[in-house]
Each structure stands twice: as C-alpha cells, then as structure tokens.
C-alpha cells in the first residue's frame, strides 16, 4: 500500500465540491432507480457485484450509469436522506449520473488519467477534489 500513497490522479470535473471517504468500487454500471434503496443507501440490484453493500458516505467508483433517467432524482433523494455517496468517480460518465450528482451536490469527476481499477481498492481512504479535477490517493 505504501507505494500508492499521495498519488494525484488528474480527472475531468463534472460536479463541483470536494470530499473524502472510503472507496467502494465496481466494474459494473449502476442504476439508481431500482438498483439502490434511497432510504438506506443499500445496493439492491439482484446479482450486482455490490449487492448488499452500502454506498452511504463512500467514494463510489463505477464505469457509468444505466437505466432510467429518473435515477438522477433518486440521487437527490439519497442526498436528502443522508444516504448518498460522499463523492463519485466514473470512467466515462453520461447524463443520468452527471445530472444526479449536480442536483444532489455530490462532488464528481470522470475520465481519470490512470487506471483506477488497478490503483483503487475497496476500503482505501481517498479524496476527490472536483474543483481542481483530481483524485488524491
């Protein structure tokens, strides 16, 4: 773990703000409508790699969103319930997650310069600075 400390990974800023938290990472796309319980922040999608895990307060790392555009509004519900992720990192985002992060004030970046699926592991403590457009590991 020592060798990955204090690395700064440049990204594209999508939704302003910065936040720190524990990494929760998946290579599978996420649908917030039907895939996450807005009351608890638990992943409820059957068969999803993160099924049963809780996204509340985590730095949620996934490739991009999928499913209904109503997912953007569900992200706002999570934020109001205090069950939203602290920050989001996407590989290459799309409008559902981008809009959802912005209206919910979840700091968000995408297109990281380095392979985050190699660098980031579940449980690591990292910071997402979406104002500068970087991830600090």
């Amino acid at each position: 773990m020592e060798n990955v400390k204090n690395i700064e990974i440049k990204c594209r800023s999508i939704a302003r703000g910065n936040a720190s938290g524990e990494v929760l990472i998946t290579k599978e796309p996420i649908s917030f409508l039907g895939g996450i319980d807005p009351k608890t922040g638990k992943v409820t999608e059957k068969g999803h790699e993160l099924e049963g895990k809780n996204i509340a307060g985590k730095v949620l790392v996934f490739p991009h969103g999928k499913g209904s555009t109503v997912g953007s509004y569900v992200m706002l519900q999570l934020a109001k319930n205090g069950t939203a992720p602290a920050a989001i990192i996407n590989m290459s985002t799309e409008p559902i997650i981008a809009v959802g992060a912005i209206i919910s004030k979840i700091p968000m970046v995408d297109q990281p310069e380095k392979d985050i699926f190699l660098l980031l592991k579940n449980g690591m403590q990292i910071t997402v600075d979406a104002n500068k457009g970087e991830i600090i590991v």
Partner: protein, 391 residues
C-alpha cells in the same frame, strides 16, 4: 473545453442565484460529455417528466427543491402531458392519492414559470419554431416532429436538461444543432401505399427498430398529412431513438450520405408489422391521439362515431387548448354522445391505466402500441380507427 460568454460565466459563478448556477453546471457537464465547444441560445423549451407515474416522489422532491432555490425560466417553456386530465380526473377513476401528487408537480412547474400546456404536440397549439431555429425540447415525438417536419434544431433532451436550458436560455451546441449530424445514411424505399394513420404508425414502428438513433430517410411516400408524419416520427422515436427523419419531397431537409445503406419496405412488411402489434382481441378501451390529436383528427373521429356508435369505450387524447376548440365546434358533444371522452392534459401512456381498470387497449399509433405494452401492462389491439372501434 467549453468556452462561456460573460453572462454564462456569471450564471455558473452563482451571480444569478443558486437554481441558475446549478442549471449552468448541468449544461456545462453535458457540453463536456458531448464535446460541445460553446452554448447557443434557444428560443423555447419543452419539459418532460410531468406525470407522477413517470417521475414519482423522487421527481417531485427535485422540482420542489428547484422552486425553493428560486428557479425561473428565461424563455417560453411548455410541459409534456401529465398523469391525468386536470378537470375530469375524478370521473375517470384516477386514484385520489395519485391526483394529489400530480397537482403538486404541476404547481411546482407553474412556480418556475412554465406554461401548463401539458401536451406532446405543442406544434398543434401554435408553438411552431421555424426552420433552423434552435430549441431544447424533451418529448421524443415532438423532437422528431420539430426537427423533421418543421426543420427546427433540437437534441432529445431529458427532463432536467430541458429545464436547465429553459432556466439559462441556452443549450450546449452538439448533435442535431450541427449541420454534420443532420444527414441520413439509411434510406427506406417505401414500396406500398400508406393509406391510414395506422399504416404510418406501423412503418415507423418497423423502421425505428432498424434505424436505432440514425436519421432514416424515406422515398416513395407521395403524400402525407402532418398528423401522419407526427405518428411516423413518434413511432420511430419509441421503437428506436430516432430524433430526425427525412421524407423526399415532403420534409424541408433531405440530406443523404453518399454511402447510405438502402432498404425497401413492402406491402408484406406492412402486413407483418401490423399483425405483430395486434393481439386480435376486442379492446375494452380504444385510445386515440398518440401523440395528442389535432383538431382535424378530432373532427374525423366525431364524423365517424356520429354516424355509428363504437362497440367499446374510447378516448381521444389532446391538448387542453385543442379540446376547447373541439368543445366550441361541437365535436366533444358528438364524441360523448357516442360513448367516448375527449381527454385533455394526459394520455393513455402516462396515466395510471391499469389502476383505472383497463387491461386490453386499442391504438393506431406505433408509439402507443409499444408503451401500452411495456409501461402500462396492457394487451394491445392495433389497427385503423374504422376497424378497432367496432371490433
């Protein structure tokens, strides 16, 4: 990189309030996602995500949050259909709880300054952007009509992106705003006579599936009314995600790539598509006006049912403004006498049809045929008016 004007930068910096700041942040994010270099002014917006059935409590909370942040639209902005007829929901068995939530949603839009037009065919109530005019519309069938029949320019916006454009008065310049995207590489030679609206609906349903999001171009269609083009576009926008199409000799634009793929659509393709969409049952309810009927279409229905009473319940869905005209001209009365309803503000797809007690529903629209099945759990009856109303 997105280059912003001074005014856009001020919006992004929060000088014009939090709702405007958030909206500009959304537009900038979209510009990044789609590689737009700048924002362009739009003259109108049309916002989807109106029915409580579609957006639920999450959507209602989003709208109330925007109201609280002081959101106001900058340009004329119109609403898509809601989940119920605002005047006659009680007689139509809409659950009370649903109605309460629906009214809250409409109130929120109203506070943002959006007209309660509640229609998917704003072009039938006088909102007709000109050729080359940039707009930000969300309803997929209205997008297809505006781009193709009127020659205006819009992408298929989502609810929040259309609303952001309405609040800031601009949209990122990408996709169908640019000449280079308004070219077809998929030409359909229509080798059969299209006689009824249902024929156009079936053609659209079949071609939308093949075209996906490529703009198709049609040859061989000699004549088509605006109402038929409406159904053609709506059906392609539903079975595929078509946002622009051309019809040789009819639409204001007709741009074909030199290496375009060519296919033919024959009488037997038309027959097969129609029979696939139709379960062959007798409908409990026939719903017309997908997208919302023009006054001409209401007149045709009134003339038909005035002569012979249909053998099932039926609705004609339309904009409130069009219904008012139909009331004045006596068409509504004729339709009601024949056992039908002229339903405003809503449609068969976004109202809670199942909860209102219906299982088998008829239509002459390829769009309704798809969504009645997928979103409303209905068994679908498909065909021309003269047939499905008397099955």
């Amino acid at each position: 990189m997105v280059i912003l004007s001074d005014k856009e930068q001020k919006m992004f910096d929060g000088e014009m309030g939090e709702a405007t700041r958030q909206s500009m942040e959304i537009l900038i994010a979209l510009a990044k996602i789609y590689n737009a270099k700048r924002m362009i002014p739009v003259t109108s917006a049309q916002v989807s995500g109106v029915s409580y059935k579609t957006i639920g409590d999450a959507g209602l909370e989003y709208l109330e949050d925007l109201v609280q942040k002081g959101a106001k639209v900058e340009i004329p902005t119109f609403l898509n259909p809601a989940g119920m007829d605002i005047m006659q929901w009680k007689k139509m068995n809409v659950p009370e709880d649903f109605a309460k939530k629906q009214i809250k949603i409409l109130d929120a839009y109203s506070k943002i300054g959006i007209m309660q037009s509640c229609t998917c065919t704003p072009y039938f109530i006088g909102i007709r952007p000109k050729k080359g005019e940039h707009i930000a519309w969300a309803e997929s069938s209205a997008v297809a009509f505006a781009n193709s029949v009127l020659g205006a320019r819009t992408n298929r916006e989502g609810g929040p992106s259309a609303l952001a454009a309405a609040i800031c008065g601009v949209t990122p310049e990408y996709g169908l705003h640019l000449d280079e995207s308004r070219v077809s590489n998929f030409v359909v030679d229509v080798k059969c006579d299209l006689k009824t609206t249902a024929d156009f609906g079936a053609l659209g349903y079949a071609i939308g599936k093949l075209a996906k999001d490529n703009p198709p171009a049609f040859t061989g269609i000699k004549i088509a009314t605006e109402e038929q083009l409406k159904v053609l576009g709506a059906s392609m926008a539903a079975s595929g995600s078509v946002a622009l199409f051309f019809v040789k000799g009819i639409t204001p634009e007709y741009n074909i790539a030199s290496d375009a793929e060519k296919i033919t659509f024959t009488e037997s393709d038309l027959k097969t598509t129609k029979s696939k969409l139709d379960t062959g049952e007798k409908p409990q309810l026939v719903t017309l006006g997908c997208p919302h009927a023009s006054i001409n279409e209401i007149k045709q229905v009134a003339e038909l049912v005035g002569k012979r009473k249909p053998t099932c319940e039926f609705w004609v869905c339309t904009a409130r403004k069009t219904k008012e005209t139909a009331d004045k001209l006596g068409y509504t009365k004729t339709i009601e006498t024949a056992g039908g309803k002229v339903v405003a503000d809503t449609c068969m797809v976004v109202c809670p049809l199942k909860d209102m007690g219906y299982d088998i529903t008829g239509t002459n629209s390829g769009k309704a045929a798809k969504y009645l099945q997928d979103l409303c759990k209905q068994r679908v009856v498909f065909g021309k008016l003269e047939e499905i109303l008397y099955r």
